[in-house]
């Protein structure tokens, strides 16, 4: 089989095309939201919200409703609860996150274990099942992605200022508290969008890894965002093909591609700084 065939063959399958579209959209949204998330120090929050979406997914399954709604309600409610507990100031943010996300995930597992019949569908949400994504899912995912991207496009300046210097931004009149809550809601929506592609357990990698790579190699926010988007959009393409050729789990392969890029960037950065210091001594 020629290399060209290896690339063209899978494109004959509609499920592969849908998976390509869905995963690149997911990669794009995750990269954009993840860039702000990493700069806000909310990486752990991303992990927490994805786990807390689980009971919502299970309840939606039991009620035979769309999982998007269940996951979104559970994740947004948890994000607001975390924000509220943290703002009261008696507990550190990571403590509030730890308590609430573990509790929500446990609720999900509890409900899950009480379902008597076959629950194979639900495993897809834990580990991702992008090859099984349908046309309706793809449309719903695209609409949600558009909402998130449009919100960031409108509020990029305000989010950036409030992320960098919340006190200065609030004094200058930006509604920093409301932007904080809005951003948590954006993370929650992004997770909902990503659940089918990579699953609850690996979503955090889609959010954090591209932004982390951007942070390693870029010194301005625009470049960080550009690098994160490039990684976020190209990794799913590479990951999908690799998983197709190797017959491996798709979500995990996508995440592994991103992790590999991160390691290369880290080593290249270390290499360049060693060269830089060596030059400095001559």
């Amino acid at each position: 089989m020629s290399p060209l065939d290896a690339i063209l063959d899978p494109l004959a399958f509609p499920f592969f095309i849908r998976a390509l579209l869905a995963s690149t959209i997911v990669g794009l949204v995750c990269a954009v939201v993840g860039s702000y998330m990493v700069l806000r120090g909310l990486a752990f929050m991303g992990d927490a919200l994805s786990h807390s979406a689980f009971p919502g997914v299970v309840i939606a399954y039991l009620l035979k409703g769309p999982f998007y709604i269940g996951a979104a309600v559970a994740a947004v409610a948890t994000s607001l609860a975390i924000g509220w507990v943290t703002r009261r100031g008696q507990l550190r943010g990571d403590t509030a996150i730890g308590v609430l996300f573990a509790g929500m995930f446990a609720l999900g597992i509890f409900l899950f274990s009480r379902i008597p019949n076959y629950v194979g569908d639900l495993f897809g949400f834990l580990f991702g099942e992008i090859l099984g994504i349908g046309d309706t899912d793809l449309i719903a995912l695209s609409v949600l992605a558009l909402i998130v991207l449009a919100t960031v496009a409108v509020l990029w300046k305000e989010l950036l200022y409030a992320t960098f210097d919340p006190l200065g931004a609030a004094a200058a009149g930006l509604p920093v508290a409301r932007l904080d809550y809005l951003f948590l809601a954006l993370i929650a929506l992004t997770i909902v969008i990503s659940l089918q592609a990579v699953g609850i357990i690996l979503v955090v990698a889609m959010l954090v890894t591209p932004a982390a790579i951007g942070q390693l190699v870029a010194s301005s926010f625009t470049r960080l965002l550009a690098v994160a988007i490039a990684v976020g959009v190209l990794s799913p393409v590479a990951g999908l093909y690799l998983s197709y050729w190797l017959d491996a789990a798709t979500g995990a392969t996508i995440v592994l591609v991103e992790t590999a890029i991160f390691i290369v960037a880290l080593l290249a950065k270390r290499g360049s700084s060693v060269v830089g210091s060596a030059r400095g001594t001559t």
Binding site: L39, G89, V154, L155, K157, E158, L160, Y161, F164, D165, L167, G168, A169, A170, A171, A172, G173, L174, Q215, A218, S219, S220, F221, R223, L224
Partner: protein
């Protein structure tokens, strides 16, 4: 400071318009988690003033600054900036946090930081344009940072970092600069440079209020000093800082009567700043 005169009005240029009140606090008590950090604060600061707020750690310096910035709501009393609650005057306020609260690894350049000063006035739907770029360039030029415009903020020296934030205030066209510990952690020559910049801003009609626990810096560079130890325990010109009694009150005791500047602060919660007699007793029934 060699010609310090009894009346603060006398330092104003001859052609200056009548003093305009920029900051006014009346009977303000505020704090965190049920613990008051400042109590019963009355303070008036006029346009163009260059004021240092000094006092011990936990004395309420930053709390006072946050109240003026509208970052903290008073439990009792009123805070006004330009005659309105701080939130309504927000576009006129520039707040610069303590250097250690800033993430210096954040991927923004000096230019980006100054440009943020333009964001609140633009609002969500307008993008920065030519006028904003001109304003940022002018602001960077004014603080001497134009040649560092593209530098990531973590690569700057301590003095340059403060200039970058000052450029943001200038670019925002703020009327009131609130600076938390602007000269802490920089060497004396850098302090001199920064204070020259702040003095120039104050001469240009900007009102500058800075906290400091560096009394030497406060006495060298500011025109008026306000001592905070939960309450305003001293308020007057820099000669207060060489008064041992003032210092012991600020850093140890509570309230005092300060001699020649006629600032009287006592437990009977009435006071008279005796500045041209324009302000006298406040309504005392507000208390409890």
């Amino acid at each position: 400071m060699t010609f310090a005169t009894p009346s603060p009005e006398s330092r104003a240029p001859a052609a200056a318009p009548p003093a305009q009140t920029v900051i006014e606090l009346r009977g303000v008590t505020a704090g965190y988690d049920g613990e008051p950090a400042v109590e019963d604060v009355d303070l008036r600061i006029d346009r163009g003033a260059l004021v240092a707020v000094f006092g011990p750690n936990g004395g309420g310096k930053t709390t006072l600054l946050k109240l003026i910035a509208g970052l903290l709501q008073p439990w009792r009393g009123d805070v006004e900036v330009l005659g309105a609650p701080p939130a309504r005057a927000a576009r006129a306020i520039a707040y610069v946090p303590q250097a250690e609260l800033v993430d210096w690894s954040f991927p923004v350049s000096v230019w980006d930081v100054a440009m943020m000063g333009r964001f609140p006035a633009l609002g969500p739907f307008r993008q920065p344009g030519g006028a904003d770029r001109d304003a940022v360039a002018a602001a960077l030029d004014r603080v001497g940072m134009l040649s560092h415009a593209r530098t990531q903020i973590g690569r700057l020296s301590g003095g340059q970092r403060r200039r970058a934030f000052l450029a943001r205030a200038v670019a925002a066209d703020a009327q009131l600069y609130l600076l938390d510990e602007p000269v802490t952690g920089v060497d004396v020559p850098t302090q001199e440079d920064l204070m020259d910049l702040l003095a120039a801003e104050s001469r240009a009609g900007r009102t500058v209020v800075a906290t400091t626990h560096d009394l030497a810096a406060a006495s060298r560079h500011f025109e008026r000093v306000v001592g905070m130890n939960r309450r305003v325990v001293a308020d007057g010109d820099v000669s207060l800082l060489s008064d041992p009694d003032v210092l012991s009150r600020t850093y140890g005791g509570h309230l005092l009567v300060i001699g020649e500047r006629g600032v009287l602060l006592d437990d009977a919660h009435h006071h008279d700043t005796e500045r041209g007699g324009e302000r006298h007793f406040h309504d005392e029934e507000r208390h409890r």
